[in-house]
């Protein structure tokens, strides 16, 4: 029997949603501050309108939905799923008001792409967008990469079990420190330290390469936020091609890889346990999959001989591949070149890399390295069971911070999520094909959206069909939250309609 949600359920959800909204609203003061300094008054007004709406709603929700009760699992998941949808709409509002997006749906697409750290974009005339709006595009990637619930957890929610439920709902099931609020603050600490280092590196490189100092540091902070949070937005329409600088690309690769590493691993490295990098299953799987997928991509690129020498092939092939594998989506080629200049085999290499993603508890999307490792270990265990005598005891273990045995429960969970991602990739590809796009291009774009990557082979434009825009928004949302929160929200709506008291 499906039980109808009670008023307390709804009030509790509303209360925490209000808190997250207030946290999200506060972050808008950052672009407002920049807008005032640069005297970009119309953009400041766009954000002022939005802040007013957010605070109005947030104050009402936190006041009238207060119950004093802790969140249960269902409520925690629903808060997260709803918070991401509400943040998408409210984050899109200042973008839409700028006039650089064709419709509000396009602005919502951009906002979800930013929050989910995807990087697919529908902006028009990006090269004339204000600094204020441009900073917001990159900032939402930074916030989304950390997790918008993490923002609220760090500043608004006191450490209790409800906080942990929201933390898990946002696809972060690993605690670095015993307290989830301390974990959130540690994630912020790591990110801020890298933010300072990254911005300085990009800024100085930009100045050396002839950019104006203000632009160099503005681009530096924006590119860092989207590289470390494996997002893929860039301040100019040419993406990374704008800079014409190999050193810039090398720093970006370093930042993307740092962003794709588990925050728990960062914690151990920070505490001097450097051996963990070599021993950890995620890093070894990551290294292995990069090697395999790059081999496929390089063989594919060799077929058409687009790049006449090995250095060029490596520079272009490896950058797009690592950008796809880490789920970032930065590009040093134009989107139509994927179809026109890259062979099908090279595209398949990039699609596989995109579908795998980085580490769990990192800023990347997709299936993730730990699950790939667990699935392979479980497969190895099953093969051994068949080969070895029946009386032999077969045990498989892997190293992830500590030694862990591969249990059926762990393998089942990893397989389930893997299967869900594969279905999501296929679903988007099917919709793409129904809209008239070829199979490989549809699969490429769908995998890019669902795995929160952002590489595009040219399908994502303001002119693409509305149904495809909505499909990609759903894919980005479900892919970022790793399904559980989304399924709980769907179940909640079913219970509201069909449930009994």
């Amino acid at each position: 029997m499906i039980i109808k949600p009670t008023g307390t359920d709804i009030k509790n959800i509303g209360y925490y949603l209000g808190k997250i909204l207030l946290g999200f609203g506060l972050t808008m003061f950052i672009p407002i501050g920049l807008g005032i300094v640069l005297q970009e008054f119309n953009p400041v007004l766009d954000f002022s309108c939005t802040i007013g709406i957010i605070f109005f709603t947030g104050f009402l929700l936190t006041r009238f939905c207060f119950t004093g009760q802790d969140l249960n699992w269902m409520q925690g998941m629903i808060v997260v799923a709803l918070a991401w949808l509400v943040a998408m709409v409210l984050g899109a509002l200042p973008l839409f008001l700028s006039g650089h997006w064709k419709s509000f749906l396009d602005a919502c697409f951009e906002s979800m792409s930013g929050l989910a750290t995807t990087g697919l974009t529908l902006v028009q005339d990006l090269d004339h967008l204000s600094y204020t709006h441009n900073l917001w595009r990159h900032l939402i990637m930074f916030l989304g990469g950390q997790g918008i619930v993490i923002v609220a957890l760090s500043f608004f929610v006191k450490g209790h079990s409800g906080a942990f439920k929201m933390y898990v709902g946002e696809a972060r099931d690993e605690k670095i420190l015993p307290n989830v609020v301390h974990t959130s603050r540690f994630i912020w600490l790591v990110s801020i330290v890298y933010l300072v280092l990254g911005t300085i590196s990009f800024g100085v490189t930009g100045i050396i390469n002839g950019m104006r100092p203000f632009n160099a540091f503005f681009h530096g902070v924006c590119i860092f936020m989207t590289a470390f949070d494996t997002g893929g937005f860039a301040p100019q329409s040419q993406n990374i091609l704008y800079y014409h600088c190999p050193l810039f690309e090398i720093i970006i690769i370093v930042m993307m890889v740092l962003g794709a590493i588990n925050f728990r691993l960062h914690y151990h490295i920070w505490n001097g346990n450097r051996k963990e990098i070599v021993k950890n299953i995620e890093t070894s799987v990551f290294f292995f999959t990069i090697l395999i997928t790059f081999l496929i991509t390089a063989l594919g690129l060799q077929e058409l001989k687009t790049y006449s020498d090995g250095r060029m092939l490596f520079q272009k092939g490896f950058f797009q591949l690592i950008s796809g594998h880490t789920g970032t989506g930065f590009m040093t080629i134009y989107a139509p070149q994927f179809n026109a200049e890259w062979s099908n085999l090279a595209l398949v290499g990039v699609i596989i890399a995109m579908s795998l993603g980085g580490a769990v508890c990192s800023t990347t999307g997709a299936i993730k390295m730990l699950r790939i490792g667990v699935v392979f270990k479980a497969l190895k265990e099953d093969i051994k069971r068949i080969i070895l005598p029946e009386r032999a005891i077969v045990v498989q273990k892997f190293h992830h911070i500590k030694e862990v045995f591969v249990e059926d429960k762990t393998a089942r969970s990893a397989l389930m999520i893997t299967l869900m991602y594969l279905l999501l990739y296929a679903l988007g590809a099917l919709v793409g094909m129904l809209c008239g796009y070829p199979f490989l291009s549809s699969l490429f774009e769908s995998t890019s959206a669902a795995a929160n990557v952002g590489l595009s082979c040219g399908i994502t434009t303001p002119a693409m069909p509305v149904v495809l825009k909505i499909t990609y928004i759903i894919q980005m949302w479900a892919g970022r939250l790793e399904f559980m929160a989304v399924f709980t929200l769907i179940g909640f709506f079913v219970a509201v309609v069909r449930g009994k008291r």
């Binding site: 007004l45 040093t332 139509p336 070149q337």
Partner: protein
């Protein structure tokens, strides 16, 4: 006699027509060689293999930064569809050039140079190495006019949020009930 006269007339007419045609064709031929038609960015990117290594003319607005690197400089030119990186000799640049941004409409220039779909000098980038650069329209500052309607909306939204906050700050139902 008459036949001979009319024959000469026809001959003269033919000569005049031929001269006219020659002049017209020559004029248009000269004009097209002076002002080669610009190729669109979408055409260059979409048919990069065809244009690879050829001299092309590309027109558009200079955007972002002009990145001077020694005797050369990178200029990114946007024709309305895409921006393409153009490597120019620094001497071709002048102080009149303005770059497009939120506050400015950049100079509209025409460059002529060798197009590469994967430039071996620049790590496989799609770019143009320009031999000439001509300013077609000068850039100009775009002054910002404050949108009064937006100001009204922003003020209303902020006032509404402030009023709710104030009302909730003053209204303490628990305390009232206790009293």
């Amino acid at each position: 006699m008459r036949k001979a006269k009319s024959g000469r007339k026809i001959e003269r007419l033919k000569k005049t027509a031929f001269l006219f045609l020659f002049l017209v064709c020559g004029f248009f031929g000269f004009k097209s060689s002076c002002f080669a038609q610009a190729t669109a960015s979408s055409e260059l990117i979409g048919r990069a293999k065809y244009y690879d290594g050829k001299t092309v003319t590309f027109e558009g607005e200079i955007i972002g930064d002009i990145m001077v690197r020694g005797s050369k400089a990178w200029v990114n030119i946007n024709d309305g569809s895409n921006a393409i990186g153009v490597l120019v000799d620094s001497r071709l640049l002048n102080s009149r050039l303005l770059t497009g941004s939120y506050t400015a409409k950049g100079s509209w220039v025409s460059v002529s140079g060798v197009f590469s779909r994967a430039c071996p000098e620049h790590g496989g980038d799609l770019d143009i190495h320009a031999q000439s650069l001509a300013v077609i329209h000068d850039g100009s500052a775009v002054p910002e006019r404050i949108d009064l309607q937006k100001s009204g909306y922003a003020l209303t939204a902020m006032l509404a949020a402030g009023a709710v906050w104030l009302a909730l700050f003053l209204w303490k139902p628990e305390k009232a009930r206790k009293k």
